[in-house]
């Protein structure tokens, strides 16, 4: 079992493509689910889509959620508050991370079987991975 990853973007295409990229680099053992756009396919965010992706990505080891910006962050925070009011739901943490780099860092570490806190840390450390 591995930590699941959910990618929340305003754009369905961005969430889907980054999920595809991270899956390619992490291998098939990690469940990575995109939650892009609204429930009727527009640009924006949907709490129902995010909740559905979280449930689909969870295999019992928890889910790391990575957001792009703005309403992606606010909607994910709202979902987290809702989940805290429920019993028995998936364990979810939000990573404060750059979207693409954080998704890859989280997915690669998750593929090694590390726990949720380590996966979130890996995503957040992507801020300090300089490119030049």
């Amino acid at each position: 079992m591995t930590v699941g990853i959910v990618l929340v973007s305003h754009s369905p295409a961005v969430a889907g493509s980054v999920a595809e990229l991270a899956s390619e680099l992490a291998g098939p053992s990690v469940a990575i689910r995109p939650a892009g756009g609204t429930d009727d396919g527009r640009f924006g965010t949907s709490i129902e889509l995010i909740a559905g992706a979280v449930n689909a990505a969870d295999s019992g080891d928890g889910v790391c959620v990575i957001m792009d910006m703005g309403s992606s962050v606010l909607t994910s925070k709202t979902l987290l508050e809702d989940l805290e009011d429920e019993d028995g739901g998936p364990v979810v943490r939000l990573a404060d991370a750059p979207f693409t780099e954080g998704a890859v860092a989280a997915a690669v570490l998750a593929s090694t079987g590390q726990g949720l806190d380590a996966v979130v840390d890996s995503a957040e450390q992507a801020w300090s991975m300089r490119k030049l």
Binding site: T38, R42, G44, G70, S71, L74, T78
Partner: protein, 209 residues
């Protein structure tokens, strides 16, 4: 008059009508410094709020506001969804199980809404957001309520204070949301979130008058 489930429902209905009537203005404010979808998003979110209230038929004002908040969170699509949705839900929870409340309790619920928005979005006064309209509005509502004034007077004072807060966002530079990327170019425009907050508070004044 006291604030009961019927008044709370009327508030959401009036807010929906006000936002629909001013949808083009909200969108043009947002097109200047945001992504130009605030009018449509607010109309969609408040329509979902009304639908959710109609389906659940809540019997207390607290449950009406919680149902409204859930509809807004589910369907708005932009940052205003979680912000207004959390605000209405937190206000509804603050009202508890009471069948009707007077001005001091409604004032405390509005303060809970403001706290929810500040916690979720991380904005403070002066950041050019809905907080700049809601903060003076809550203070004005509570000042009237503390003097023993009725809800109608408190809500009218809150709406007036929100309008002043909205005007005061014009010279501010945005520090939250898409507009913050514009830096000094965000100066000279009303904040769309402060504008929709003002409409919603004016709707409260109208239905309680």
């Amino acid at each position: 008059m006291a604030f009961d489930a019927q008044t709370a429902t009327a508030w959401i209905t009036a807010s929906e009508a006000a936002v629909k009537a001013d949808e083009a203005r909200l969108t043009s404010l947002d097109a200047a410094i945001g992504d130009g979808d605030h009018g449509a998003n607010m109309a969609r979110g408040l329509a979902a709020a009304s639908t959710n209230i109609a389906e659940r038929a809540p019997s207390t004002p607290g449950d009406v506001l919680v149902a409204a908040g859930r509809g807004i969170v589910a369907k708005t699509g932009g940052a205003s969804g979680p912000l207004y949705g959390s605000a209405f839900r937190r206000a509804g929870k603050a009202l508890g199980d009471a069948a009707s409340v007077e001005a001091p309790v409604l004032g405390a619920a509005l303060e809970a809404a403001l706290t929810a928005i500040k916690e979720l979005g991380g904005a403070n006064e002066g950041d050019k957001t809905m907080v700049d309209a809601l903060t003076p509005a809550v203070a004005a509502f509570q000042a009237v309520a503390a003097d023993g004034g009725p809800i109608a007077a408190a809500a009218a004072a809150a709406a007036d204070a929100a309008e002043q807060g909205l005007s005061a966002t014009v010279p501010l530079q945005a520090r939250k949301g898409r507009a913050s990327y514009l830096g000094p170019r965000s100066i000279g425009h009303e904040d769309p979130g402060a504008a929709s907050t003002t409409l919603i508070l004016r709707a409260l004044a109208e239905v309680t008058a």
